[in-house]
Amino acid sequence: MTGGSRGIGRAIVQQLAADGYDVAFCYRQSSGAAEEVARQVQEHGRRVFQQACDVADFSAVQHCLQEAEQALGPLSVIVNAAGIIRDSPLVLMDEEAWHAVIATNLTGTFNVCRNVIFNFMKRKSGCIVNLSSVAGVYGNPGQTNYSASKSGIISFSKALAKEVGSFGIRVNVVAPGAIDTEMVRQLDAKQAERLLQAIPLRRVGQAAEVADLVSFLVSDRAQYITGQTIQIDGGLSF
């Protein structure tokens, strides 16, 4: 699990622990939050491994995964939830903002999948869920970099699902809409109202609801689902 210390990633870690998984997760900076999440995993009676890791760094990811396997044994499920935003209209966006978002969100997903896929294929089993966004499906103004990275995750995952399906490995994407996290809470009242009007269910989603969907996708109940992108957005459309 990448991006496991906050937001949607944190909720997914908690859900997977409740489902009976031992969980390894990485985070970028928030070690205090990571320790709290680790405690919650242990409260479910599961083992946990957590480590700070920049998912944009291929070698760091490789190292982190090796240590995770040493601590917990072979990995069976991967969830890529690490993501950042650097919002700006394109006309004002600098190169750093573009590259940073692509590197963490899209290349980070590649780095993790690339480092696990060999062993998954040898064992002929494994399940990957990559977090995208409705921004990746529809495009979101002010987020050309974020939208591109999340859209890239969708096509990457579809291609990978086709490559490794015959090895018994499933790859799916979850594309959340407006979820009650720090990002959405920062909207002002006017922005929030406009957002709610665009959502048929007239509310933002909860991180736990996204975690529930991920829990289903990695379970045996989803054995015939691969290559799919499932939007969880209250019906939101741009």
């Binding site: 060999f118 294929m121 090895f167």
Partner: protein
């Protein structure tokens, strides 16, 4: 590994690889490139690797996957692995 043919690659190994690739054993010559000459998928190398690990109780590493391109390479890789000098 037991019986060998005139090229030195054991028949049993050649048969195993041919079975994995679902091609005629005769077409799996020492130098025939699995992808370019025998027309198999590039991921077939991994299937061959898994079959070898199971039959000969060895473990291959990811870098060794790229060496599985023809029968001769497979044989040399396996021999080195069994002699404890490979991987």
């Amino acid at each position: 590994m037991s019986q060998t043919n005139q090229q030195g690659v054991p028949e049993e190994l050649r048969q195993l690889v041919a079975d994995v690739m679902d091609v005629e054993e005769e077409s799996v010559t020492d130098e025939a490139h699995f992808i370019e000459d025998l027309g198999v998928d590039s991921l077939m190398a991994l299937e061959i690797m898994v079959a070898l690990e199971k039959r000969y109780r060895v473990k291959f590493t990811e870098p060794e996957l790229r060496k599985i391109t023809c029968m001769r390479n497979v044989y040399e890789l396996l021999e080195a692995k069994q002699a404890g000098t490979g991987g």
